[in-house]
Every structure is written in C-alpha cells, then in structure tokens.
C-alpha cells in the first residue's frame, strides 16, 4: 500500500485518465484503479468523492444521473474539454516531477 500523502497530487490524474475512456461512476472508477495497480493502491471512498467534488467545481468533469439499474440511479461523471487540457498539463508535470525526483533516487 502506498501512503496517501505521496500520491495525493495525482488522484485527480488517475480519475481523469479513467474518464478518457468513457463516462463512469464511483465504484467502477475505484475498482479500475485497484485492478490496474494490482491492488497496490486502493483509493479511499472519501478521497474519491472529494476528488469528484473538486474536479466538478473546477469544471474538469460534469455529472449526470444514469439510468436506473437494480433499483438505483448512479451518478455518472463525464470528462470536459477543460478536464482534458488539465489532464495533459498534469501528465507534463509528472514527467518533470519524475525526472527531478529520479535524480535523487539511488539503487541501494
């Protein structure tokens, strides 16, 4: 398990990445993150929904109510154009971050 402090700045990036492939809802996104990272990173429920709230406030995603399945309506999230631009920025930022931090990482 990764400490949530380290990864905090990139929770948004992960969510935006998953929304690149199409609209999705809370549980599906958290399940995909868990599976893609082979359970090395499990995003907490509160982290996920804080991110949704923040991303939506900034206009990077929008939400809508899905069709009823098994008697409940899920909230779906959709990537916006601003979100796509923001995602690209975050990808560039990570490249630089990685380069910088890598300078100080030594195989021991």
């Amino acid at each position: 398990m990764i400490s949530s402090d380290v990864i905090r700045g990139y929770n948004d990036t992960m969510i935006l990445f998953l929304l690149l492939h199409g609209d999705s809802y809370g549980y599906e996104i958290s399940k995909n993150i868990k599976e893609m990272t082979s359970e090395k990173y499990i995003m907490k429920e509160t982290t996920l929904y804080s991110a949704f709230s923040r991303l939506e406030k900034n206009g990077y995603i929008s939400s809508y109510s899905g069709d009823e399945t098994n008697g409940k309506r899920r909230t779906y999230y959709k990537l916006t154009n601003e979100g796509l631009i923001y995602y690209k920025e975050k990808c560039q930022e990570w490249q630089i971050t990685k380069e910088v931090v890598d300078k100080f990482i030594k195989e021991m």
């Binding site: 809802y25 809370g26 549980y27 958290s30 399940k31 499990i42 907490k44 429920e45 509160t46 982290t47 996920l48 929904y49 804080s50 709230s53 923040r54 409940k72 899920r74 909230t75």
Partner: protein, 321 residues
C-alpha cells in the same frame, strides 16, 4: 448491509442536511454497496466484506474540508454519542426504576384492598370504627412507601433527561437495539393483553361472589380485595410493558418522542396524586358518616378508573409502534 448504512448515518450525523450532502451520502452508500456485493460474490463472509468496505471508507474530514461544510466546531456542544455500555446501563435502569414505580402503584392499589378485607374480618369482633383505626396503619405505611418509591425512581431517572435531546447511537448499536426491541414485542403484547383481560374480569369476581354466593359484608370484602389485587396486577403489567418498550423506542428515537416521555411519567405522576387523595376522601367520608359498610365502594371505582386510564395510556403508546 444495515451495518454499512448505520456507519454512514453516523458519519453524516453532525452534518447539515443540504441537497448536495444528501446526494453525496447516497452516492457513497451506493458505491459501498457495490463493493460489498462484489466482495460477497467473490465468497467473502459478511463480516469480512463489511470490514473491508469500512476500512476503505477513508476519513470523513477529507470530504468536510473539500466541500467546505459548516460542521459545528468542537467548541460548540455537539450531539452526544451513546455508547453500548451507556445504552445497556440506561435500559437496565429504566427497567429497574420502572418496576419500582410499578411496585409503588401496586402498593397503592393493594393497600386499600388489605384495609377493606382487614377491617371487615376484624370488624365483627372489635367493631367497625376500631378495626378501621387499627388498619389505617398498614394503609398509610403502604401508601407512604409507594410515594417514596415514586419520588426516588423519578429522581434516579432524571439522569437520563439528556436523552430527551437529540443524540446519536454508537455505530452498529442501532441494529442491536432494533433486534432487542423486536424480541421484546411478543412479551409487550402478552403483558398488555393479560392486563386488559384482568381489568375486564376484575369486577366479575366481586359481582359473582356477592350475587351468586352471598350478599354479605364478608363476601363483599373478599370480592373487593380480589378485584383490587387484579386491577393492581394489571396496572403493574401495563407499566412494566410500557417502560420496557419505551426505553427501546427512546434509544431508537422513534416516533414523536417527547409526548411519549411525558406519558412515561404520567402514570406515576397521576398515581402519586390520585391515591393519597382517594385515601383522604375515603377516610373523611367514612369518619364523618360512619357508613363503613358502603364507603369502600370508593376503592373499586378508583381502581377500575385508574386501571382503565393506564390501559388507555399503554394502548395509545402501543399504537405508535
């Protein structure tokens, strides 16, 4: 699943009920339910599944910060959380002191029963006035003990006054209490039914003794004695059933609660006024007129009226379930 729901309820207990937060809570619940169902589907046990879902919930403060929710600060009094130990102590005390009140009412009703029976039995030998004077002592003693019990129980139950204000139950406690309440329901119903049957049958013992056997003072007194003991038993059952059911309902904060609490004290309060007054009225009437052979009629009439009153209180309370 209930556990997850009550966990979330607990987490959101202190938050304002804005549409955005209600929506957020629904989304979280749906997400947690999905996770729970999938875990169960993959063969995890109920406890494991709930454990994982709750451990992966995270920290509610994160959401509070992100959403700029105005939560009452720790400086302001927040809603108290009732723990399992507190709830168990409260249930125990409410039942115990409720039973003391019931015992007090029982004493109040049986005191005149003993008085009437005693004076009639000894009245043949030592005369009615002397018998009455002699049996005043146990009569007053029993009523004094009863009033003492009412006051003592009332003071002891004061400590649970804070439950009249809003509170939240410790996580998973709601379910435990709900189960206890459901388990208690058959006993509650049984006690009320038994009490009502006793109330209905009670005048019959007096009538059958005096009408079918012999209409003299002796059978009259025995009849009154049995009638009052039956009414006393019935009222005791009503109070016992009522207080037990009430403490579950109070903990679950079910229905509109304050009126119920008032009823809780109602029977005891009315009893502590009605019975001393009845005693005073009875003695005044008896000593002024000397008609000891008829004045006892006060007791069965008051007994039945009081029994009917308690029954109405219990049934009204039962209906709100």
């Amino acid at each position: 699943m209930e556990t997850i729901k009550s966990y979330l309820d607990n987490m959101f207990a202190n938050m304002p009920k804005t549409p955005a937060l209600i929506k957020l809570k629904e989304d979280l619940l749906s997400s947690m339910e999905d996770k729970y169902n999938e875990m169960k589907y993959h063969g995890k046990s109920e406890n494991e599944a709930i454990g994982i879902v709750i451990s992966e919930f995270g920290n509610i403060d994160e959401l509070i910060r992100e959403m700029n929710i105005e939560v009452p600060s720790p400086m302001q009094p927040t809603v108290p959380v009732i723990t399992k130990e507190e709830a168990e102590r409260m249930i125990h005390d409410k039942k115990f002191f409720g039973n003391l009140i019931a015992l007090g009412v029982f004493l109040c009703i049986t005191a005149p029963a003993i008085f009437v029976l005693g004076t009639t039995l000894t009245g043949f030998q030592i005369g009615e006035d002397r018998a009455a004077t002699l049996f005043l002592f146990p009569l007053f003693l029993m009523i004094a003990i009863a009033v003492g019990l009412f006051i003592f129980s009332g003071i002891q139950l004061e400590q649970y006054k804070y439950l009249e204000k809003p509170f939240t139950l410790d996580y998973s406690l709601t379910e435990i209490i709900r189960k206890k309440k459901a388990a208690n329901l058959p006993y509650f119903t049984l006690k009320i039914v038994a009490g009502v049957v006793l109330c209905i049958l009670s005048p019959l013992t007096l009538i059958s003794l005096t009408v079918f056997i012999d209409d003299n003072d002796f059978y009259g007194a025995v009849g009154v004695f049995l009638l009052l003991v039956m009414v006393a038993t019935a009222v005791t059952l009503f109070i016992n059933a009522g207080t037990t059911m009430d403490c579950y309902k109070q903990l679950l904060q079910e229905g509109d609660y304050t009126p119920e609490r008032k009823e809780d004290k109602l029977v005891g309060a009315v009893a502590s006024i009605v019975w001393p007054l009845t005693t005073a009225g009875y003695l005044l009437w008896s000593f002024l007129t000397g008609d000891w052979h008829i004045t006892w009629i006060v007791w069965p009439i008051m007994g039945i009226l009081f029994g009917a009153f308690s029954a109405v209180v219990s049934i009204v309370r039962g209906d709100q379930n």
